[in-house]
């Protein structure tokens, strides 16, 4: 019963994650700009980071001032603006980098901040959704089932032994009562053997069933070889995706910038970490120990703010390993297919330690290619293909497979 409850909880959480990721994919320009530019230093309603918390920022200063400030804060400060200077002093004299956004772009960022701030305010009054159930739920329920079964089996064996004893005792008593010769009580092993020799057909049937069951199990076990689902290696730095991608809402591609342009998403260079950690020197969970490892790698002196000349690269343990024989391109899926990262990587924003969520087997890839419908109409590249497919297959929605997405050569060459 409890297994079922856990399953329901897991299902709900996965649904929530899908809903969350779906809302991630739906981005307005302001949100996109905010998440690619501002999010490294600012939060909306989650406290100050490098720069101030931007919740209700629209109430602090008039919009034209904000536009000037966002575009080039240095100019504003140098013009002798008192509020600007105060902010600059308050936030450790860290200058916000200038940019060349248009007025409309800045306005869209501001309206996004406003909207997000209001959302956060309402969210505080409503209970937190169940997306925060502990990770690894399914694995735990599996274990639970195993103990349950083992328990039941033990009880049954004990029951069997007791009943056997009772039956034997009763048989002896009955024989004595009837004055018949007392039947010989056989030891357990011999007793079983006698039963077996008396029921050859049943035994054969059981053996066949067991063999078939065993072979099936073995087959599936073999299919699991090389499948590293759930792989959760310890990393040289206890980096938490939950804090960065979940709590702070940093876009995946802010660090994994390769995903939009390259076949590999890439692990960010340590200098990307320094965009924020030049200022954020203490972590929420691990204090200074883990952030110090970034500094050590770059040979950075946080007190003086200088880089030395003895950097040592960080040896991360790769979590998602596709074999070399398979070609996979992130940009095809992220930029062209507009697939959310979570589809293949799971709810990364909830993971303290990065984990391989999916099987990454060929079957898993092909399965998705068979099911996923492609938005052909959105990309002019597919214009002719769309026409040809509509005519050839006489339907309106097309899967990746319809376009040749399950050809061997698409991934193997």
């Amino acid at each position: 019963m409890r297994g079922i409850i856990y399953r329901i909880v897991a299902l709900v959480s996965v649904t929530c994650i899908i809903l969350i990721s779906a809302s991630y994919a739906d981005t307005s320009e302001g949100e996109k700009l905010f998440k690619t530019t501002c999010v490294a230093c600012h939060t909306i309603g989650k406290g100050r980071l490098v720069g101030p918390d931007l919740k209700d920022v629209h109430t602090r200063k008039p919009e034209d001032w904000q536009i000037k400030w966002i575009r080039n804060s240095t100019e504003v400060i140098n013009s002798g603006d008192e509020y600007g200077r105060k902010l600059f002093e308050e936030f450790n004299k860290v200058m916000m980098p200038a940019n060349n956004f248009t007025d409309d772009q800045i306005k869209s960022i501001l309206s996004y901040i406003k909207a997000e701030g209001e959302k956060a305010a309402t969210a505080q009054t409503t209970p937190v959704p169940s997306g925060e159930t502990p990770s690894g739920t399914e694995i735990k329920s599996d274990k639970y089932q195993f103990y349950l079964l083992a328990g039941i089996l033990t009880v049954l064996i004990i029951l069997f032994l007791i009943l056997r004893n009772v039956v034997q005792t009763l048989a002896v008593l009955a024989a004595r009562k009837k004055g018949l010769p007392v039947p010989e009580t056989l030891p357990l092993g011999k007793d079983i053997m006698r039963w077996v020799s008396g029921h050859k057909r049943i035994v054969a049937l059981v053996i066949i069933i067991l063999f078939a069951f065993g072979s099936g199990k073995a087959w599936y076990w073999m299919l699991e070889i090389g499948v590293e689902q759930g792989y959760e290696p310890a990393q040289p730095i206890q980096y938490s995706h939950k804090i960065h991608a979940g709590d702070n809402g940093i876009q995946c591609v802010y660090c994994h910038f390769g995903a939009e342009k390259s076949k590999t998403a890439g692990i960010p260079p340590a200098l990307v970490c320094m965009n924020c950690h030049k200022y954020i020197k203490t972590g929420k969970q691990t204090g200074t120990t883990e952030i110090a490892k970034i500094y050590a790698a770059l040979d950075y002196n946080p007190d003086k703010g200088t880089y030395g000349n003895n950097p040592k690269p960080i040896e991360w343990v790769r979590v998602h390993n596709l074999p070399d024989l398979a070609y996979f391109n992130h940009s095809q899926h992220v930029t062209v297919g507009k697939i959310a990262c979570q589809t293949c990587h799971g709810p990364v924003q909830t993971m303290e330690v990065m984990r391989q969520e999916k099987t990454l087997t060929m079957g898993w890839c092909v399965d998705c290619h068979r099911k996923t419908e492609v938005a052909l109409a959105e990309n002019p590249y597919y214009k002719k293909l769309h026409e040809v497919l509509a005519q050839r297959l006489n339907k309106n929605t097309f899967t990746v497979e319809d376009m040749g997405g399950t050809d061997c050569v698409k991934c193997h060459y």
């Binding site: 342009k261 692990i267 260079p269 070609y327 590249y381 061997c408």
Partner: protein, 1047 residues
């Protein structure tokens, strides 16, 4: 009961026997080595233990295979701005190694150069490239390279070498000693300037002066050397294969010490006397590209002894002896002189069944649009060639003396002078850059001995060679991919070379070494930048800021005028020219055939050239386009002559070539003989560039060195000799050839026609194939097949190969090899027909016999009217693929875009597909070429450095799987993805297969046949289009266009 016993002891049952009986085997199994410790402790291990151990280790291996290895991922700490891991960057640069010049683009991945292709913006080469330039990539990653400076063979530091060399140079200079700088031809204007400054610095006149480097402009340096002709510091330009006679002839004839620019694209008639201008003669990459531009309009006559690549492509090839070259030129001259009213020379007429007359009339017919070139290094020949071209009015039209080719400056006589001085101990210091005279000069031995007695010897060699091994200081140069450089192949044409990788070893550019030794602290980058600022920037007026100009030059790799200016200035007829011509007649008439002797020509192979690339396994394995032999040089001889000499003419794994003793002017070498139809009867040919004694692990000891057989005549190195003799067979030697059948056996494989017939009927030579049915009716194959057609979407990748344009150079084969991580398998495997190149170029000699006698079909026609055809063959991507139906595991199937796919990891290696393939384009991995020790010395993928050339987008196949051309699917994917990301339709030409990208004559066209606007779709309905073996109706996606000859 009877008792059987083996020995008396056993019969007696001694205690020893008792003990032995307990053990099953009289001797223990050799498991001690497996469990040595136990054996040492006196524990006897039984077979059971052994099996236990075996079983354990097997299961351990199986279990450990289940556990995925931990893969480390190490990102950049500080990522270079331009690098995105997984995305290739292309950089523009230029290649010049003293022989081949071409502007190039270099593909790098994560900072590693992995491929070189031509720069299509170049007005000189138009993106053409050859096999050698592409393969030069591998020499960057050669583990045999010099890794640090050496002093007397021992590792030294740069500081030590710099100090000692500078000191020695100063002291030599102070006492007026002779310093010689020997380099190959230079194309770099700034390097020329540095050498000029160096000469100035160490000349007697300037000794002791505090001259700062870079202060004097180029002209001043030149003026200085002009002013004091008896200078003690000299720059000697030495090329292994020389063309100094052209320079000398032009000096005498026009007063210009230059090699002109030839315009093969402007010519309608080309007559070449022994010039292999498509593969090896001067700027062959440029010429091949020009030749390919309008090949069908060109009428090309080739007079030559050994069959060259150029000869194979000629419309009329006339096999002649080298001693006849001069008389042929005179014959042509006289006919033209007679027609144009110039004085006729009195010579004995030569006759080649009217061919000379025909050539001369054709030249006259296209006056001003014709071109006569002569490949010999004979000044008299070149003077007559000049005279013919002048009579034809070709100067200013097809030959440009005012915009000369600046890539050759060598002078054989000054090199000879240097050798004499060296022998006499008059040289105090000798510096060698990019030359290897100990190997490539006939007096190599003298040079080697002379160097031992020279006070200071310095070599800038990249990797060990014969010369650098005999030298005190080796100051290794950077590889060109690690260097800054510039080039000026023609006046007002500049190329800028940039490094695409930091130096891998402790090497330094030779220009920088020169700067150091002149006491300059400037690095070469600043020097070159300054040079460009002062000399090249002012030549243009488009950009105002130098910084912008410099960046654009770096980006483009070239700075060229808007269009190629052809200087039309008419050349004055010089009075003395007639005297020169008369003189030359005398010289030519003096040279005559020697009876009873062979004549020999020394040529360069298309792949290996002059031997500087000998250590390059890609080039060694690239079959020679003409003979199809790789990994060797050999004596080429006409089959008729071989029959007379009783030499073996069959080639194959079991058929071993005969070795003969070749004697040229008293020098003897032993060399195998290869039958080559087209070789003039009475002549033999031998390739230079082999027989290296010091040249890395690959190049050492391949073939024989032909350079010692050369001789100097009239101050120019001669590549022909009339004084050769060939002995009878003195041994056997195995030659490896990728093609052992040389004719089409009467089949319609290469379809060809003549221009005349083609203009009458565009389908000439391309008759429709029909299949006779049992009822007597004849149907096209497409109507009698049992296949269902594959459904297509919007893409169907097709490849068109124009056999008229293909010159058979092999650039595509190397490009494919580099792009698709093809292994190098070595001579032994080639001999077993296990070559791994996905793209082969079949070469067919025409056979006179059309049908009937099979034996006669096998023999190519005799030399007189020999015709050669080239046909690149890769996987034809059949839409009715015979391979797909026989694969038991469905490893090879058909894709929706019309390609025949090959899933390596599904393949179990039955090789049924290869058996069923009518085109024989499938290659089987017999070994793990990247691991197996047999290929240790030849396959570059065996070491960590060589592996850097591997294309990360293509897998390296393992043992036991079949592989073949994928039509560069990685490039298709890349091109498609780019268009998808940008949200636009795919453009035709955006995706190029590796073979198409490098073809100098644009014979290969790739594209989407379902896109009506694509080039390939437009070629498909062409009347010349046919598919290979179309009677089988395999419906290939690769199609060919009939070869049209202008005979």
């Amino acid at each position: 009961m009877k008792k059987y016993w083996k020995s008396i002891d056993e019969l007696r049952d001694t205690p020893e026997i008792q003990k032995l009986k307990e053990n099953e085997f009289a001797e223990l199994l050799p498991v001690h080595s497996v469990i040595e410790n136990q054996a040492e402790n006196g524990i006897a291990s039984s077979r059971r233990d052994f099996l236990k151990l075996m079983g354990f280790s097997l299961s351990a291996a199986a279990l450990s295979a289940c556990e995925a290895p931990v893969v480390k991922s190490i990102p950049y700490l500080v990522k270079p701005e331009e690098i995105i891991p997984g995305v290739a960057n292309w950089y523009a640069s230029n290649y010049f190694d003293g022989t081949d010049y071409c502007p190039i683009l270099i593909k790098t991945r994560e900072g590693r150069p992995i491929k070189i292709e031509g720069n299509k913006d170049s007005k000189i080469t138009g993106g053409a490239i050859n096999a050698r330039v592409q393969a030069s990539l591998l020499s960057l990653y050669d583990t045999g390279r010099y890794k640090e400076p050496l002093k007397n063979g021992q590792p030294a530091t740069w500081d030590e070498c710099d100090r000692e060399i500078a000191e020695k140079l100063s002291s030599i200079s102070a006492r007026g000693g002779n310093i010689r700088i020997v380099t190959s031809s230079l194309a770099s204007p700034s390097a020329k300037k540095i050498i000029g400054e160096f000469i100035q610095r160490y000349s007697v006149q300037q000794a002791g002066d505090e001259l700062t480097a870079g202060a004097e402009p180029d002209s001043a340096a030149a003026a200085m050397t002009q002013k004091f002709p008896a200078n003690n510091v000299k720059h000697i330009v030495y090329d292994a294969v020389s063309c100094s006679a052209i320079i000398r002839a032009n000096e005498k004839f026009f007063g210009k010490t230059v090699i002109p620019s030839y315009r093969f694209d402007k010519a309608e008639t080309i007559v070449s006397i022994g010039a292999d201008f498509l593969a090896n003669w001067i700027s062959s990459i440029e010429y091949a590209q020009q030749y390919g531009k309008n090949k069908r309009q060109i009428k090309h006559f080739q007079y030559e002894a050994a069959l060259t690549l150029t000869g194979c492509n000629a419309d009329a090839r006339i096999p002649v002896k080298p001693s006849q070259y001069g008389n042929i030129l005179l014959g042509i001259y006289n006919i033209i002189a007679k027609e144009t009213g110039a004085p006729v020379l009195s010579v004995n007429p030569v006759e080649f069944s009217g061919k000379i007359e025909k050539s001369a009339m054709s030249l006259l017919g296209s006056k001003g649009k014709s071109l006569v070139v002569c490949g010999t290094n004979n000044i008299a020949h070149q003077i007559i060639t000049n005279a013919i071209n002048q009579l034809l009015g070709n100067y200013g039209n097809t030959i440009d003396l005012n915009n000369p080719d600046l890539t050759r400056q060598n002078d054989d006589s000054s090199m000879q002078e240097f050798i004499t001085e060296l022998k006499n101990g008059k040289i105090d210091a000798a510096l060698f850059w990019n030359v290897n005279p100990v190997y490539s000069h006939p007096d190599g031995k003298d040079i080697e001995n002379g160097l031992k007695n020279t006070g200071l010897t310095v070599s800038f060699a990249l990797s060990p060679d014969e010369t650098s091994s005999a030298i005190q200081y080796v100051c290794p140069d950077n590889h060109f991919l690690e260097s800054w450089n510039d080039a000026s192949p023609k006046p007002a044409h500049y190329g800028l070379c940039q490094p695409v990788i930091s130096p891998l070893y402790k090497t330094r550019q030779f220009q920088e070494s020169f700067l150091k030794w002149m006491g300059s602290n400037s690095d070469y980058y600043s020097y070159i930048r300054n040079y460009w600022k002062e000399n090249i920037f002012p030549q243009q007026n488009k950009t105002v800021l130098f910084e912008t100009f410099w960046k654009k030059a770096l980006h483009d790799g070239i700075v060229e005028p808007e269009s190629l200016i052809l200087s039309n200035t008419a050349l004055p007829v010089v009075e003395t020219n007639n005297v020169l011509v008369e003189e030359s007649v005398g010289k030519i008439s003096g040279a005559s055939e020697k009876s009873g002797r062979f004549e020999i020509v020394f040529y360069q192979k298309t792949a290996t050239g002059n031997g500087s690339h000998a250590n390059n396994p890609w080039l060694q394995e690239l079959p020679d386009p003409v003979s199809k032999v790789c990994w060797d040089n050999y004596l080429t001889m006409s089959p008729k002559q071989m029959e007379e000499l009783g030499l073996n003419m069959r080639q194959g794994q079991e058929e071993v070539a005969d070795v003969v003793e070749l004697t040229v002017s008293g020098n003897k070498v032993r060399v195998p003989v290869f039958p080559l139809p087209g070789q003039t009867y009475g002549t033999v040919g031998l390739a230079v560039g082999y027989g290296r004694t010091v040249s890395g692990k690959v190049g050492k000891g391949i073939g024989v060195n032909a350079y010692p057989l050369l001789r100097l005549e009239d101050g120019a190195m001669q590549y022909e000799s009339a004084d050769a003799s060939v002995s009878v067979s003195v041994g056997k030697y195995n030659l490896a050839s990728t093609q052992v059948h040389h004719t089409m056996m009467g089949r319609n494989i290469v379809r060809e026609t003549t221009l005349e017939e083609y203009s009458k009927n565009p389908k000439a030579g391309n008759e429709e194939t029909v299949i006779a049915m049992h009822g007597g009716e004849k149907l096209p194959p497409a109507l009698v097949n049992m296949w269902k057609d594959h459904e297509k979407n919007d893409q169907w990748w097709n490849l068109s190969i124009d056999l008229s344009a293909c010159i058979g150079c092999g650039a595509c084969t190397i490009s494919c090899q580099v792009e698709n991580n093809l292994p190098v398998v070595g001579k032994d495997e080639i001999n077993r027909s296990r070559d791994m190149q996905w793209l082969r170029i079949d070469r067919y000699f025409s056979s006179d016999e059309k049908d009937g006698d099979l034996d006669k079909m096998e023999i190519p026609s005799d030399a007189e009217n020999l015709q050669v055809s080239f046909q690149p063959v890769m996987c034809q991507h059949c839409n009715h693929a015979p391979c797909e139906t026989v694969c038991p595991v469905a490893a090879t199937t058909h894709s929706t875009d019309g390609l025949n796919m090959m899933a390596y990891n599904r393949c179990v290696g039955t090789r049924y597909c290869a058996n069923n393939c009518p085109y024989k384009v499938r290659r089987f991995n017999w070994f793990e070429y990247d691991k197996y020790s047999k290929f240790k010395d030849i396959n570059p993928a065996q070491d960590d450095m060589g592996r850097m050339t591997l294309n990360p987008d293509v897998v390296v196949r393992s043992r036991g799987v079949m592989e073949k051309c994928t039509m560069c699917y990685q490039r298709i994917q890349d091109g498609k993805l780019k268009a998808k990301r940008e949200g636009r339709p795919l453009k035709d030409g955006e995706i190029a297969t590796a073979c198409e990208a490098v073809c100098p004559t644009h014979a290969i066209t790739f594209g989407n046949a379902l896109d009506e606007s694509s080039r390939v779709a437009k070629l498909k309905p062409d009347d010349r289009k046919y598919t290979l073996l179309d009677e089988l109706d395999t419906q290939p996606s690769v199609f060919y266009l009939t070869k049209v000859r202008n005979v």
